[in-house]
């Protein structure tokens, strides 16, 4: 019978909690809404969704910022699976969007078709060129590919990792064996190799073989426990720095790395020190991809009628990609490594050093 007496009590508590939170002042009626631009920008996610802590999320951040600052009208659609792409992009056309962003290579065929059919709408595709139905790259006057040569930044991260490891073993794994993932792993592998050549060391990389283009993958971008399993395998094989390239799966890896003393993590896409603050004490650096900025810049150009279909390729020279500060682990990176990284960065920008990946934007 105790439960019966508790029920009204619980209700009273719940209601009063609600009541307290609802006691705010009503705003004055004369709240005139700001004059909004009639330019409508729209965005369609891929199956990862807006909260993927990866490129969809970064894209959306840049989009939201542009919408807010320029007072644009907006519409966005989250795709749950690949069969949603056609309908979602079509919806955006029907909603009267002037600029439509698509996030991810999976949207390439649908975006290209829509761009060909609607010449008066501008299209921007993140992380992929526009492709026809046979997968061949096409150029259209109203379609701007936004791509990133992440291999350059990952190269620096690989160099840092090789220079910081105590066990002479570092590791990486991906979500899926697809170009937008392996471009990180290729760059990372080359960075480690470069360190070995320069300093005559023998730091081993686990989880990725650049020549064979094969390595460890979690299989998707959702399963965090798989990330934990993979990271634990690497740690037990003696690696002390892990770079997961798998969106939220990386959080699983982070949990595993955190449990092991002295082990460190390299985050990707955004500065993990800020985007995954739970793990900031183990994040050595991050391979940052400036998706948000490129989305913002594209919106800025497009709304002023200055949209250009010229591909945007983010690399070290235009700060489209880069490595994040070392933050709390500043002291763990040897000074000569830090200096070499700065030199290498300059060499890559000057074109003296080429970082190549099969997945690099052409």
């Amino acid at each position: 019978m105790k439960r019966k007496q508790l029920a009204p009590l619980t209700a009273v508590v719940a209601v009063s909690a609600l009541a307290l939170s609802a006691c705010g002042q009503a705003p004055s009626e004369s709240k005139d809404s700001e004059q909004k631009s009639d330019y409508k920008a729209c965005m369609v996610s891929d199956a990862g969704g807006w909260d993927d802590r990866s490129f969809n999320q970064s894209g959306k951040e840049g989009f939201d910022k542009a919408v807010k600052e320029f007072g644009l009208q907006e519409s966005d659609a989250e795709s749950k699976d690949d069969s949603d792409f056609t309908s979602n992009v079509d919806q955006m056309v029907q909603q009267g969007c002037k600029l439509i962003y698509g996030v991810g290579f999976n949207l390439a065929p649908v975006m290209t078709k829509s761009a060909q059919e609607n010449k008066d709408i501008d299209y921007a595709l993140i992380d992929s060129p526009f492709t026809d139905k046979d997968g061949k790259t096409v150029e259209l006057d109203n379609a701007k590919p936004i791509e990133f040569n992440t291999a350059q930044a990952a190269f620096l991260a690989g160099y840092v990792a090789a220079g910081t490891t105590k066990s002479n073993k570092v590791a990486t794994f991906g979500g899926m064996n697809i170009p937008s993932v392996t471009i990180f792993m290729d760059g990372f592998a080359d960075g480690v190799k470069k360190f070995n050549q320069d300093k005559g060391k023998d730091v081993k990389l686990l989880g990725w073989d650049k020549d064979k283009q094969s390595g460890s993958f979690s299989g998707d971008f959702d399963n965090q426990s798989q990330g934990q399993t993979l990271a634990n395998q690497f740690l037990s094989q003696g690696a002390d720095i892990v770079m997961p390239v798998a969106g939220p799966v990386g959080l699983g890896a982070a949990a595993a790395v955190k449990k092991k003393d002295g082990a460190k993590l390299i985050w990707v896409d955004s500065d993990g020190y800020e985007s995954a603050p739970d793990y900031k004490d183990i994040i050595l650096t991050s391979v940052v991809k400036g998706i948000a900025n490129s989305v913002y810049d594209t919106a800025k150009e497009a709304k002023d009628d200055k949209f250009s279909a010229e591909p945007y390729v983010g690399d070290l020279s235009n700060d489209g990609v880069g490595i994040a500060p070392y933050h709390d682990l500043e002291g763990d990176v040897p000074d000569d490594v830090k200096k070499s990284v700065d030199d290498l960065k300059q060499q890559i920008i000057d074109g003296k050093l080429k970082v190549e990946s099969k997945a690099s934007p052409k």
């Binding site: 705010g24 690949d82 697809i178």
Partner: protein, 410 residues
């Protein structure tokens, strides 16, 4: 709003124990689900929409803002909530049936055809699940069977170059065969070794997913030079012919779905084989005593169920998608379980449940794009439907319905 009805405290019902079907020795979960009435299905949808309405209101920023000064001016809150809910559901309706705000006549009627397009794979796969349910088999492997159907039909669609009609038939046959073999594995294991079909089909789902991911990395499979895991495009000779000109996407796949519904109905209700299926589903021991080979029925049922699910995958590829990519099967195989449950595992019921879910899917696009309502609401509505369908007594309690006296017949 009917949500007020939901919040009424359920009165103690002395007859609660009487909700199990009378006259049967083992009132299993399956029997409970199947004995639910049409009314229960309908009420489940109503409750689910009411729950969805609450979530739409909660998720809406305007409603959140007005809630913060609820006591100062409650009218604002109710106005905002009403506006959010009505706009979202009207958009859902406009996106799935008839869009009276569209710019052209074609665009006005297109939503209904889009619902049919989305419904096609759900109906086909749902029939496969329903057939297995009726035969006493929990086929949770619809997803894997859909994937295999997609793989086989898609591959035959772009790897071979055959004359029209023949090419389509070959590709469809490939999809049917792929799904049938995949489900057949579970059927044989169940019949020969007694392996639980639920476990085996779930495992086969994962295997199908990884097999697909592997194949999409192989150049010989996807027929493109691109490094992205997307296959070449299916030849137009293998695509299901459109029933209406562009921009309509309605294709002959829907006709296939109608034919399959009729076929399954005939099979289950009018044929000797179907009688055996149902007999095994009702009581395997009695069926065995009556001289029916339970293991043969198990294998046959799984083969046919897989064939239907494979056809669902084929309809998706050859109907609208035209190419293979990792997420192309979506969650058809799992949604189809809901469709079969909502349709009470009857062919016609499955057909209409498939239409409803197709409409949810098609309407969800407009709802999300226009009102900014999270697409997850649709998923919640679907999930609540399943929850309630699986618990008919709960629905009866909410609406104070009497418990069924005896198991009704279809």
């Amino acid at each position: 709003m009917s949500s007020t009805t939901v919040s009424q405290p359920p009165a103690p019902q002395p007859a609660a124990g009487g909700s199990r079907p009378a006259g049967t020795g083992q009132p299993g979960l399956m029997r409970q689900i199947l004995s639910g009435s049409w009314l229960v299905s309908l009420l489940a949808i109503v409750i689910a929409l009411a729950v969805g309405a609450v979530l739409i209101a909660v998720a809406n920023p305007d409603v959140q803002e007005t809630a913060s000064y609820f006591f100062a001016r409650p009218a604002d809150f109710f106005a905002a909530a009403w506006q959010a809910i009505s706009e979202a559901y009207l958009a859902l309706l406009r996106g799935s049936v008839f869009d009276w705000q569209a710019t052209s006549a074609v665009r006005m009627v297109r939503p209904f055809t889009e619902s049919l397009v989305s419904a096609t794979p759900l109906i086909l796969t749902g029939l496969g699940i329903a057939l297995a349910f009726r035969s006493g088999l929990f086929n949770i492997g619809g997803q894997g069977q859909v994937v295999l159907g997609s793989i086989c039909s898609g591959f035959l669609g772009y790897a071979l170059h055959l004359p029209p009609v023949i090419h389509l038939l070959v590709a469809l046959a490939g999809g049917i065969l792929g799904g049938a073999i995949w489900a057949g594995i579970a059927g044989v294991l169940k019949a020969r070794t007694g392996a639980n079909e639920v476990i085996v089909t779930i495992m086969l789902n994962s295997i199908a997913g990884f097999l697909f991911a592997y194949l999409l990395k192989q150049a010989w499979f996807k027929h493109t030079d691109s490094a992205n895991p997307i296959s070449a495009t299916v030849d137009s000779s293998a695509m299901l012919p459109p029933l209406l000109p562009s921009p309509f996407r309605l294709n002959a796949g829907f006709i296939v779905a109608i034919l399959a519904t009729l076929l399954v109905w005939w099979l289950l209700e009018r044929s000797t084989t179907g009688f055996e299926f149902r007999a095994v589903g009702e009581n395997p021991n009695a069926a065995k005593t009556a001289g029916i080979s339970v293991s043969r029925v198990t294998i046959t049922v799984m083969l046919i169920a897989g064939a239907l699910a494979g056809l669902g995958g084929a309809a998706q590829i050859l109907g609208t998608e035209g190419k293979l990519s990792a997420g192309v099967g979506g969650s058809i195989g799992f949604d189809a379980i809901t469709v079969a449950l909502l349709g009470r595992s009857r062919p016609l019921g499955t057909f209409f449940a498939g239409l409803l879910f197709g409409a949810f899917k098609a309407g969800g696009y407009l709802m999300q794009a226009q009102t900014g309502t999270p697409i997850d609401i649709v998923l919640v509505v679907q999930s609540v439907i399943v929850l309630l369908i699986a618990a008919p007594p709960l629905v009866r309690t909410i609406f104070r319905l009497p418990a069924p006296v005896k198991k009704e017949d279809a």
